[in-house]
Amino acid sequence: MTLESLNTLITLPEIFLLCMACAILVIDVFLREEQRNVSYVLSQLTLLATFVLVLAGRTDQRLLAFNDMFVQDALADTLKLFILAIIFVVFVYSREYLRERDIFKGEFYVLGLFGVLGMMLMVSSSNMLLLYLGLELLSLCLYAMVAFNRDNGDASEAAMKYFVLGAIASGMLLYGMSILYGLSGSLDITVIAKTTIVGGASNIGLVFALVFIIVALSFKLGAVPFHMWLPDVYQGSPTTVTSYISTAPKIAGFAMIMRLLVEGMGGLHGDWQMMLVILAVLSMGLGNVIAIAQTNIKRMLAYSTISHVGFILLGILAGNAVGYAAAMFYTLAYAMMTLGGFGIVIYMSRAGFEGDQLDDFKGLNQRSPWFAFMMLILMFSMAGVPPTVGFWAKLAVLGAVVDINMVWLAVVAVAFSIIGLFYYLRIVKLMYFDDAIDTQPLECGRDMQLALSTNSLAILVLGIYPAGLMSLCVGVFG
């Protein structure tokens, strides 16, 4: 085997990211406390450069590397670009927040970069082993990041819960994978795909493996009834970490579903479709109903995430290109909305004050009309009210289920979205109709203002002209 046959060149962005993450880890050791900004800037430059590398290497073909372990295709490229861009914004949001809490450390960014590497491997894997490695790399970074503020009891508790439940989920995944390996004799997803098509649903062993894998995927995405970790982790983590966990990893999770369920076990579509229907209905229902009872916005957004996951599953369960494109559109829209939502929470916070209670949003329109307006856009987008991107995302997934003659499911989905409307409107009510309790001035740096405004306005602009993003998603599966 020669080096050329490994086709390493297409993994250049990943290799670059790995090298830079290691380099930043080393450089950070030699920096004095007041120079910590260097690590931040280097991390951001790394993300930018990786973005450029992915962009430059984009291809419509399906290319394989490392003995068919690593795949580069349109899906992988597109998702990687979004992951990189979103984490870039997460880092912008994080700087002041971390500094105000004396945890502005290089390790945060290094862990973040390794997490990105894990996600990039997940979206590019055509082998279950690589998929698992990517997932574990990401998860371990996330566990550490959740506990980053180590003196905080809530954060430590959240990290512990996350770690234990995450480990169980990983175990489930490995168990499912090992059954698949036993039945097909290979870890290669394309080989497994052939087995599932031939064996089909009659093979009880395959269905058994499928159940384990679906359970694991539901754990990672936070679909009901495997969602228990999510609200606690979202609430307990430092808000910057929450904004990390809730955005890009969901995109990677979507990729994991595409690789495992659609590419690997497409032959069992009839089986996983019904499982996903149940998960989707439960997630939309439970997420939207319980969110109403929350008084903490991070927790509320956690339940809102659960309901959004339900909507994403609607697109996937359709089992055709229209549905996958819809689910991808929804995932990307969701990631942008949630990023903005937690961005506002970070904006509200200051040293010694988290600003994550719903009551903290009272009278935001008096204190900061501009960002109240941004939050208004985000909330209406999450509720799926036009003209925001959230509406088109809902339209796309509803269209996907109507397309496969499951109109009843579309009706159920809109019924739950009405319930969901209430708690999003409540935020708008607090911001616009109530008087402020907290009257401290809200301040943040130029970079954060710019990023937060761009983030929110993108939701509006994509709502007015969603065609570009939509055809991008369709193109991936076309």
């Binding site: 494109a325 329109n365 009309p369 208004l376 209406f380 009210v385 036009p386 003209p387 509406f391 088109w392 339209l395 796309a396 509803l398 269209g399 109507v402 397309d403 109109v407 579309a410 009706v411 809109v414 019924a415 979205s417 009405i418 409307l421 209430f422 409107l425 708008v428 009510k429 616009y432 109709f433 002209y465 969603p466 065609a467 939509m470 055809s471 369709v474």
Partner: protein
């Protein structure tokens, strides 16, 4: 040279972009500048919409001023605008009312002026978009989008129970419209197009039609609002600021009626036919029962709100009575169907003027006295003679006095109802008695008699701005009442065409 302009797009987007400009200029410039800018934008929009009337060809039922551009190719959604004789009068009603609403908030609104003005302008653009959209998704975007400014208007500048009222308003309307969305998506996958005109020609079975009809009914009945889903309206009206009430009554309610004409009838003609009894029943209940409810109101705004529901009952009655007219065996020459729908349309436009005027009238009193309770007034005519003259005039037109626009629409619908069934006409005509009873009784208690208390004695009469608003509306009501022909001519061809389409079964 104006012929090449995308006039319809300009009418839709001028207020939206103008509203954005108002919003962003808010923090820096003085509030008077903001008010003037908002007024200029609304006047420009009104002038643009006049161009829609002058350039309109009333002899054809085809869509005019059509603009069509690809918007979202994945779903074959087009930016597709166009108007016919049904939508054009409503657009002009919208632009006209918005100018008055901006003026009405001139001095009263002191809190967050820029946001107030911007909300009304942006909402104006969305509402025009609803009437002009020929793609159902574009329609839906405007339809839902206009809820956002209204939500804020009631919630921020409203009365004491504003939060309750505005949440109720938003959730009611949202519940109604999401099922319509599912229906639209369903029809897209049946026919491969989101265009409203394609949906009108789409063949649908009876079960499908019935379900689609019911989902449309939920959306539009909430908007109209029809009994029994009307309960949000009195709350929203009472708590909304004057301008919000005016827009709600004058335009938003019309969007429900417009939806029946544009979606329900032509897309599901057979279901409309088989379920017409339901709509007629709901309409007559609105006319009779809500009329009695209005009679016992102690709050002026609530009274006018209930009277709006009763009057809108005429609109839905006029729209759906056509099936009964056709079915009536003794009505050999099928007369009256066109009259009924025209009556409904005239009633919509006329009610836009009259209810707007009624709410502005209450606004004038409220600005001075800060109470809407009828019991707090009495003898206002002694201190505000000019205002009382206008108030009596508008109240008379609200009861349907001949010579005012209120008479024309009601009369047409009642006459048309006779072609269907005597008892429909009889029940509908009770509104002339009930309407007179509740409106004139209110006038008597508020305006006549001795001066009730010191507050009334201190009242000052209309200022120039208020006089201008009242006079403009009075002229509109009179012109439409004495000479409704221009309005009827404009919509004649479109309504003929609509009924021709509806008469053909899709089965």
């Amino acid at each position: 040279m104006f012929a090449d302009w995308p006039l319809l797009s300009l009418t839709v987007w001028t207020p939206i972009i103008g509203g954005m400009a108002v919003l962003f200029s808010g923090d820096k410039s003085d509030t008077m500048g903001v008010r003037k800018l908002a007024l200029v934008v609304s006047v420009i929009t009104f002038i643009l919409s006049i161009g829609l009337y002058t350039g309109f060809d009333a002899s054809t039922a085809n869509m005019q001023f059509v603009e069509r551009a690809e918007w979202i190719s994945t779903f074959k959604i087009f930016y597709h605008l166009g108007i016919d004789g049904i939508s054009m009068p409503l657009i002009i009603l919208t632009t006209f009312t918005t100018v008055l609403v901006i003026l009405a908030g001139w001095e009263v609104i002191q809190k967050k002026v820029a946001q107030y003005m911007a909300a009304f302008l942006i909402m104006e653009g969305f509402m025009i978009g609803v009437f002009a959209a020929l793609d159902s998704m574009l329609f839906y975007v405007f339809w839902e989008g206009m809820l956002i400014p209204m939500f804020l208007i009631i919630g921020v500048w409203g009365g004491e129970r504003r939060v309750y009222a505005t949440l109720k308003f938003f959730i009611y309307t949202f519940i109604g419209s999401v099922l319509m969305l599912v229906s639209l998506i369903y029809m897209y996958y049946q026919g491969g197009s989101f265009a409203i005109l394609d949906m009108q020609n789409l063949k649908l079975g009876m079960t499908e039609q019935t379900l689609i009809f019911l989902s449309f009914l939920m959306a539009f009945a909430v908007k109209v609002p029809m009994w029994p889903v009307h309960t949000w309206l009195p709350d929203a009206h009472v708590e909304a600021p004057t301008g919000g009430s005016v827009i709600l009554a004058a335009i938003m309610l019309k969007i429900g009626g417009y939806g029946f004409l544009r979606f329900s009838l032509p897309i599901t003609p057979d279901a409309s036919h088989s379920l017409d009894w339901l709509i007629i029943l709901m309409s007559l209940v609105a006319v009779v029962y809500i009329g009695f409810v209005a009679l016992v109101q102690k709050d002026m705004k609530k009274l006018v709100a209930y009277s709006s529901i009763a009057h809108m009952g005429f609109v839905t009655l006029g729209i759906f009575i056509v099936f009964q007219i056709w079915a009536n065996p003794s009505n050999v020459n099928q007369a009256g169907a066109v009259l009924a729908v025209e009556g409904a349309m005239v009633q919509m436009v006329s009610h836009g003027f009259i209810s707007g005027a009624m709410f502005l009238m209450i606004g004038v009193l409220y600005d001075r006295m800060h109470t809407r309770q009828i019991a707090d007034y009495g003898g206002v005519v002694n201190t505000m003679p000019v205002f009382a003259a206008f108030a009596v005039f508008f109240s008379m037109s609200n009861t349907g006095l001949p010579g005012t626009s209120g008479f024309v629409g009601e009369f047409m619908v009642i006459i048309a109802s006779f072609h269907a069934n005597f008892w429909y006409a009889f029940l509908a005509a009770t509104t002339l008695i009930l309407g007179a009873a509740y409106t004139l009784w209110m006038v008597k208690r508020v305006f006549y008699g001795e001066v009730a208390n010191e507050n009334v004695r201190k009242l000052t009469d209309l200022n120039q701005r208020e006089f201008f608003i009242m006079a403009t509306l009075a002229v509109a009501v009179l012109v439409l009442g004495l000479w409704p022909a221009p309005l009827i001519d404009v919509m004649e061809a479109s309504i003929q065409n609509l009924l021709h389409h509806v008469a053909i079964s899709k089965l």
